[in-house]
């Protein structure tokens, strides 16, 4: 009896999970499908799902009109650079909060997180002015720094959570064994935290890759990443759904592939500490 109930539940859960999964994935699937349609089919009513004349025209046109590789390269530099910078700043910060906490550590952590609660547009004006004054507008350096700062609270929080799981006695043992602070972090803490650091890096790359507010507002042409590439196919040129979809597909493809191959790391990273 009990076994039957379990099997039944398993089936219901599986169907439900797949259903929700497909529902979430559907817009992406639709975008990918649309990118292979002609503009006319793309706006057909009722919409066609699979049975249409598949075409690569949109990709050809998009590639002719704008230089995909330049946008891609900007995205790689900005997402990768901001993540690398963020990790360099966050590892020592998370180390100090996890292993030598003061009475105010919790407050500082909360305060850092609270900066994420502010709508980004609230600081657009000051940052824009700073960028003009410093000549950073439409530069990869400027965007890298801004995205690093935007995501820093999340990086520090994630690393802090991982570091907290590492027993302090092991670091003390390293200290007794003659390791300097640098050696302790380099040879003992970091290798032990590699899984945590890896999922933090992954998540941050994804966040930085998809970030659209700052990248759209602070770039024009030179430093524009893929988010700007997508945006350039929206409204002003009219309803080019198929081309917009092609551009979107090209923009999300790299991160989709990265996410697919690092699923295990990501899931572990996002559920870390939840089950123990």
């Amino acid at each position: 009896m009990a076994r039957n109930v379990t099997t039944q539940r398993k089936i219901v859960n599986t169907v439900l999970a797949w259903g929700i999964g497909l529902l979430i994935f559907f817009p992406i699937l639709w975008t990918i499908l649309t990118s292979f349609k002609s503009e006319a089919t793309a706006i057909a009513d009722p919409p066609v799902f699979l049975f249409f004349d598949w075409t690569l025209d949109n990709y050809r046109v998009v590639q002719e009109r704008s230089d995909y590789m330049r946008f891609l390269w900007n995205s790689v530099i900005i997402a990768g650079g901001s993540t690398l910078l963020g990790i360099i700043v966050a590892v020592p910060a998370a180390w100090s909060m996890a292993f030598v906490p003061s009475a105010r550590t919790k407050d500082i952590l909360l305060w850092m997180l609270s900066t994420k609660m502010l709508p980004a547009v609230g600081v657009l004006y000051p940052i824009y002015l700073i960028f003009i004054k410093m000549g950073l507008l439409d530069s990869r350096v400027g965007l890298t720094v801004v995205l690093m700062l935007i995501n820093l609270p999340i990086i520090i929080w994630m690393l802090y959570t991982y570091f907290r799981e590492i027993p302090g006695e092991i670091l003390e043992a390293a200290r007794m064994d003659g390791a300097s602070l640098k050696e302790e972090i380099l040879y003992v803490l970091t290798p032990m935290a590699v899984p945590g650091i890896a999922s933090t890096v992954l998540l941050n790359i994804i966040l930085a890759w998809n970030e659209a507010f700052w990248t759209l507002n602070l770039t024009a042409a030179k430093a524009a990443p893929l988010t700007a590439f997508i945006a350039s196919y929206s409204s002003p040129e009219g309803l080019f759904y198929a081309k917009l979809s092609a551009a979107s597909t090209m923009a999300i493809a790299p991160i989709l592939i990265l996410g697919w191959f690092s699923q295990k790391q990501l899931v572990r990273g996002l559920t870390f500490g939840a089950v123990k």
Binding site: I170, E172, A173, A174, R175, M176, D177, Y187
Partner: protein, 334 residues
């Protein structure tokens, strides 16, 4: 060399003083055990010596040189932790090599010392394993190996055996004692287990609430405890402490008699009571005696088998020369 001297050392955590001013000298080559109930400050004291905690005031001298402001790495001490604290991402060999790598010992010398330590600790077959693949006892031996190869001025042990099961604990206790005999290096050992203290120590430091209650050899402490606390803490089973008229008869506020210093007689004992639980160990028998009118319960230890059972009346004679007398402040009356 490895003489450690604490002069007027104190430690506060916030407003709480966990170590009031304390003086202590640990002689070179001595096996010193800090013992006391949990929260008595024994681990804190060890961590102050190690340098893992900063002292609030006072001075720590290692071989006569002021080490108060020196980092743990530079004090030349090695520590073995309760949780072993091995580096999980390194093989046993790399774990043991780590302190030498930090000190810049050359590769050939590293290998020589690793071989030597591995042989002494029965770890030769495990050098390429990770700590996660070892048993508790083996992990503890790796931790000791990592400490040995540093050739430290002194070893610090922080309750190293409390994560092991009882049988292993006895074995490791012997191994550590033998190690001390062989190396003749100063060892400071923290435990809450007075059996470990009694069996291993040259010198025991009994601590309570950060205060040193008594310092002495195991037998000093057993024979002449300075106060009621030490009397009750050292010895197993615990000393019987009796107050009231019986104590007054001996001109004392409290008298103490160890379970092994009470004889069971057939009739007309000085004291008598009713047997509660009788524990027959074969070599010894422990009686928990109630209704004596002296204390809630007396423990009596008799060699061999004595056939008394639950509810039987038991006659007892304390050995007059083995009665410890304490005044109303709990201090020993000579």
């Amino acid at each position: 060399m490895g003489q450690i001297t604490l002069q007027q050392v104190t430690k506060n955590f916030g407003d709480v003083q966990v170590i009031p001013p304390l003086d202590l000298t640990i002689e070179d080559g001595e096996f010193t055990v800090f013992v006391g109930p949990s929260g008595c400050g024994k681990s804190t004291l060890l961590r102050l010596i190690a340098g893992l905690e900063d002292i609030t005031s006072g001075t720590i001298l290692i071989d006569g040189a002021d080490a108060t402001a020196i980092s743990p790495a530079k004090r030349g001490l090695a520590m073995v932790f309760q949780s072993y604290a091995l580096y999980p991402h390194m093989s046993v060999r790399k774990n043991i090599a780590f302190p030498m790598r930090m000190a810049g010992v050359d590769k050939a010398e590293q290998d020589r010392r690793i071989e030597q330590a591995a042989t002494a600790l029965n770890l030769t077959d495990y050098l390429d394993r990770r700590p996660g693949q070892l048993s508790g006892g083996q992990r503890q031996r790796v931790a000791i190996g990592r400490a040995i190869v540093r050739e430290p001025a002194a070893f610090l042990f922080d309750e190293p055996l409390s994560n092991l099961d009882a049988a292993l604990r006895v074995g490791m206790r012997l191994e550590i004692s033998e190690l001390h005999k062989r190396l003749e290096t100063t060892m400071v050992y923290v435990t809450h287990d007075q059996v470990e203290a009694m069996t291993m120590a040259d010198k025991i430091v009994v601590l309570r609430a950060g205060n040193i209650e008594q310092v002495g050899s195991p037998l000093d402490l057993y024979r002449t405890p300075r106060n009621v606390f030490v009397a009750g803490f050292i010895g197993s089973p615990k000393m019987n402490l009796i107050e009231g008229p019986e104590a007054a008869r001996h001109d004392a506020h409290t008298i103490g008699v160890r379970p092994e210093h009470i004889d069971v007689v057939e009739t007309d004992g000085q004291w008598q009571g009713r047997v509660g639980v009788a524990e027959h160990l074969g070599s010894d028998t422990f009686f928990h005696v109630h209704d004596t009118g002296l204390a809630e319960m007396l423990t009596v230890r008799v060699a061999g088998e004595v056939n008394l059972r639950h509810g039987d009346t038991i006659h007892l004679n304390p050995r007059a020369d083995q009665i410890h007398r304490f005044d109303d402040k709990g201090l020993r009356i000579q």
